[in-house]
C-alpha cells in the first residue's frame, strides 16, 4: 500500500476512462447521446489487439481501433440523426453489436501476446519532487496524450468557433440551423469523433495499459462508467479528467486493500477472507451510482444541466420554442 504507486497507477487506468469520456462529451455536446461506448470500446480493443498481433505494428493497431470505433458509431449516427430513432435504444443495440462483433472477430485471440504502446519517462519534468514521479515517470504514451487531450478539448469547446457551433447545435439546433450551421453535419462529425475516441480508449486497454485480449472482460463495463463520468463531469473535459483519475485511483486503492494483513492497525478482513473481495469488486460500480447521486444534487445547486437538446432528434420545420 504505497500512496505514490497507487496514484501513479490510478492516473494510468484513469486515462482509459478519460479518453472515452471526452469522446462522449463531444458527441453529447452536439446533442447525440451514444450509450454504445462499451461496444465501441470493446471493438476498438479487439481491433487494436488483433492488428498488433498480426502486423506487429502498434501504430497501425491504434489506427484500426480508431476506425473500428468510428465506423460503428456511424451506424448510431445514421439511425438516430437521419431516422430519428430513439438514442437510448440505438446506443444499447450498438453495445450488443459491438460486443458481438468483437467476440466473433476476436475468437481465439485470448491469451496471446502482441506488441504494446511504450511507457517512458519525461526527461526534465520527472525531476520535480513527487509530481515528477507520479505524473512523468514510466507512464504510458496514452497517459501523456491524456494530459494534453483534456485541456485541448476544453479550449476547443469553449474558446473556438467550431466549438461554438458544437455547443449551439447541442443547445438549440434550430437556432444554429437558421444561421446556416449544418445540424446534421455537426452531429455526424462529433458522433464519429466520439466513436473514434471510444475505439482509441479500447486500444488503450488492450495494447497499452493492461495489455491483452480477455473477450468481454477486457472492458468489463468501463464504457458504461465512462458514460456515467460524462454526467458526473457535467460535460466539461477538465472535470472528466479529474473524475477519471479519481476513479482510477479508487479502483487501484480497492485492489490494494487485499494486500496487507493489517490495515490502519486493525486485522484486514479482506486479507483473511478472500470471498470478501467480491465486495471490493462491487465498489467501483456502487461508487459510480453514488457519484451520480452526488453529481445530480450539485448540478441542481449550481443550475448546470445537460446540453438542452441532448437526446432530441432534430427535424427541420418543427418549431422549437
Amino acid at each position: 500500500m504505497n500512496f505514490e504507486i497507487m496514484l501513479h497507477a490510478g492516473i494510468s487506468t484513469g486515462t482509459i476512462l478519460l479518453i472515452a469520456a471526452i469522446g462522449e462529451i463531444f458527441a453529447e455536446r452536439s446533442g447525440v447521446m451514444n450509450l454504445g461506448v462499451e461496444g465501441m470500446m470493446l471493438l476498438g480493443a479487439m481491433a487494436a489487439f488483433k492488428t498488433a498481433y498480426n502486423t506487429g505494428n502498434v501504430w497501425l493497431a491504434l489506427l484500426a481501433a480508431v476506425l473500428a470505433g468510428g465506423v460503428l458509431s456511424l451506424a448510431h449516427a445514421l439511425v438516430t440523426i437521419h431516422f430519428q430513432a430513439d438514442q437510448t435504444v440505438s446506443g444499447l443495440s450498438l453495445t450488443f453489436l459491438g460486443t458481438g462483433l468483437a467476440l466473433v472477430l476476436g475468437e481465439g485471440m485470448t491469451g496471446l501476446n502482441a506488441p504494446t504502446v511504450p511507457n517512458f519517462t519525461l526527461p526534465l519534468l520527472s525531476q520535480i519532487p513527487f509530481i515528477g514521479r507520479v505524473f512523468f515517470t514510466d507512464q504510458n504514451l496514452f497517459v501523456y496524450f491524456g494530459y494534453l487531450l483534456a485541456p485541448l478539448a476544453w479550449y476547443y469547446i469553449y474558446k473556438t468557433k467550431p466549438g461554438l457551433h458544437l455547443r449551439a447545435v447541442g443547445e438549440k439546433p434550430a437556432a444554429a440551423d437558421t444561421l446556416g450551421v449544418s445540424v446534421y453535419g455537426v452531429r455526424y462529425l462529433y458522433t464519429f469523433i466520439g466513436g473514434c475516441f471510444a475505439g482509441l480508449s479500447g486500444a488503450c486497454i488492450s495494447v497499452a495499459i493492461t495489455p491483452g485480449w480477455y473477450s468481454n472482460l477486457t472492458t468489463s463495463g468501463q464504457g458504461w462508467i465512462a458514460v456515467a463520468l460524462v454526467i458526473f463531469a457535467q460535460w466539461n473535459p477538465m472535470r472528466a479528467m479529474l473524475g477519471g483519475y479519481l476513479f482510477g485511483f479508487l479502483r487501484r486503492l480497492l485492489l490494494d486493500l487485499q494486500g496487507p494483513a493489517m490495515l490502519l492497525g486493525l486485522r484486514n478482513p479482506f486479507f483473511y477472507d478472500h470471498n470478501l473481495v467480491f465486495f471490493l469488486q462491487m465498489l467501483p460500480y456502487v461508487l459510480t451510482v453514488m457519484a451520480l447521486v452526488w453529481g445530480s444534487s450539485s448540478a441542481r445547486r449550481k443550475r448546470i444541466g445537460a446540453p438542452a437538446a441532448l437526446g432530441e432528434p432534430y427535424i427541420r420545420g418543427e418549431r422549437g420554442l
Binding site: 430513432a85 440505438s90 443495440s93 450498438l94 450488443f96 458481438g100 466473433v104 469488486q281
Partner: protein, 368 residues
C-alpha cells in the same frame, strides 16, 4: 426513376409493424451471415445446425421453451417499463437477486424443506424471488424518481453488483465443497417438469420444460389486461406519451416510476426463481446467459406487445439454444444486436414512405 422519402400523411397499414419486425429478423440473419462468411465460417452450415438444434425434434423444442421462459418474463417486464420510457437494463441484476432470494428458502433455510409441503416451499420461493427482484428494481426507480438519475447507468451498474453479490455466496458461504455453486436442491422443491410425466407417457422422457412457462403465459395475459384495460395501464401510457401532460392531469409520476420499476424487477426476479427451481436446481455462477439483455431486445422487437413478447421469446430461445453450441461464441450477440438495430431503423418506415418516382414526370411537375 429515383427513390423518394416522404412523410406519411396517414397511419401506416396494420400489417406494416409485423412485416418490418419479420423483415428485420431475416435481414439480421443475412447480414450476420455475411459477417460470418467474411471471417471464414460457413453461415449456411451454422444456420442449418442452428435450426436443427432448435426445432429438429420435440425434445429440442422443449429446450427452446425452457430458454424462452425467462425471456418471456423479463421481456414482459421490460415491455411495461419501456411503455413509460423507463430504460430498465437491469433485468440481469434483478434476475440474479431473484434467484438469490428464492435460494434463501432452501439454503438459509427459511423452512424445513423436508417436512414442509412442496407447494408451500415453492410458493415461498416464488414470493421471495418476486420480492427480491422488486426490491432490486426499487433502487433505480427511487433514484430516478427522486433525483432524476439516468436509470440506464444505475441499472447497469447494479447488474455488476448483483453478480458479485451472488458470487460471494456461491464461492463462500453456500459453496458446495469448494465448487462455485450451492448443493443441488432436494427434488421436492423443483418445479414440475414434462419429464415427470414420462412414467405415464414415455413421449415426455427427457423433456425439461417446467411449469415456469405457464407463469410466463399467465403474466402475458395479465399484462395485456393491465396495459389495455386498467386505470394503471392508462396512467402508464399517458406518462409514457407525455409526462408533463400526466402531471398536469394529476398523476403522481414519481410513484408510478417506482411502481413500474418494481413490477418490472419482480418479473425478472420471478424469472430468476424459475431458473433456479425449474432448470439448474441450485444457485450457481452464470445462471443467466444475458437473459436481461436479450429481454430488452425481445420487448423492442415485439413492439411492447405482451403476446408478441411470447412469440419473439421463442425465437430468441432458439437463438440461445443453438448459440451455446456453435462457435464463435459471439454469434448470438451479433445477431441480437443486428436485429435490434434493424428494428429501430425500420421504425422510420412507420413515419415515412419510400416511393419510386418517375424522374421525368417529377421534374415536369416541379417545373409546373
Amino acid at each position: 426513376m429515383r427513390l423518394q422519402i416522404v412523410k406519411r400523411s396517414e397511419d401506416p397499414p396494420k400489417w406494416l409493424p409485423i412485416a418490418t419486425s419479420l423483415g428485420a429478423v431475416v435481414l439480421a440473419f443475412v447480414i450476420s451471415g455475411g459477417i460470418l462468411a467474411a471471417v471464414g465460417a460457413d453461415p449456411l452450415q451454422i444456420y442449418r445446425y442452428f435450426f436443427r438444434s432448435a426445432f429438429g425434434s420435440w425434445g429440442a423444442f422443449s429446450d427452446v421453451m425452457v430458454k424462452a421462459t425467462p425471456l418471456i418474463l423479463i421481456g414482459l417486464g421490460c415491455a411495461l417499463a419501456f411503455r413509460m420510457k423507463l430504460w430498465n437494463i437491469g433485468a440481469e441484476g434483478q434476475f440474479y437477486i431473484g434467484a438469490f432470494f428464492s435460494s434463501m428458502v432452501v439454503m438459509v433455510p427459511l423452512v424445513d424443506v423436508n417436512t414442509t409441503p412442496p407447494i408451500v416451499t415453492i410458493g415461498l420461493m416464488m414470493l421471495l424471488g418476486i420480492l427480491g427482484g422488486a426490491l432490486y428494481g426499487f433502487i433505480p426507480g427511487l433514484l430516478k424518481a427522486k433525483f432524476g438519475i439516468n436509470e440506464i447507468i444505475t441499472t447497469l451498474m447494479l447488474n455488476y453488483v448483483a453478480v458479485f453479490w451472488n458470487n460471494y455466496w456461491i464461492f463462500g458461504r453456500w459453496s458446495d465443497a469448494g465448487f462455485q455453486m450451492t448443493p443441488t436442491f432436494p427434488r421436492r422443491v423443483w418445479l414440475p417438469r414434462l419429464a415427470d410425466l414420462a412414467k405415464q407417457n414415455p413421449f415426455f422422457s427427457g423433456m425439461t420444460l417446467h411449469v415456469g412457462v405457464i407463469f410466463g403465459l399467465i403474466v402475458a395475459v395479465v399484462l395485456w389486461y393491465i396495459i389495455n384495460k386498467s386505470r394503471w395501464g392508462y396512467k402508464i401510457n399517458l406518462i409514457g406519451d407525455n409526462p408533463k401532460a400526466a402531471r398536469y392531469a394529476g398523476i403522481d409520476i414519481a410513484k408510478n416510476i417506482i411502481l413500474v420499476f418494481m413490477f418490472s424487477g419482480a418479473l425478472a426476479g420471478l424469472a430468476g426463481m424459475t431458473e433456479v427451481s425449474g432448470v439448474v436446481h441450485r444457485l450457481q455462477e452464470r445462471i443467466s446467459t444475458s437473459y436481461g439483455f436479450s429481454g430488452v431486445i425481445v420487448a423492442w422487437l415485439a413492439k411492447l406487445d405482451p403476446f408478441a413478447v411470447v412469440l419473439v421469446s421463442i425465437l430468441f430461445g432458439a437463438l440461445l439454444v443453438a448459440g451455446r453450441e456453435i462457435q464463435p461464441s459471439g454469434v448470438s450477440f451479433l445477431i441480437q444486436g443486428t436485429i435490434l438495430f434493424l428494428v429501430i431503423s425500420s421504425d422510420v418506415l412507420m413515419r415515412y414512405q419510400i416511393r419510386l418516382v418517375n424522374t421525368k414526370k417529377a421534374s415536369v411537375e416541379e417545373a409546373a
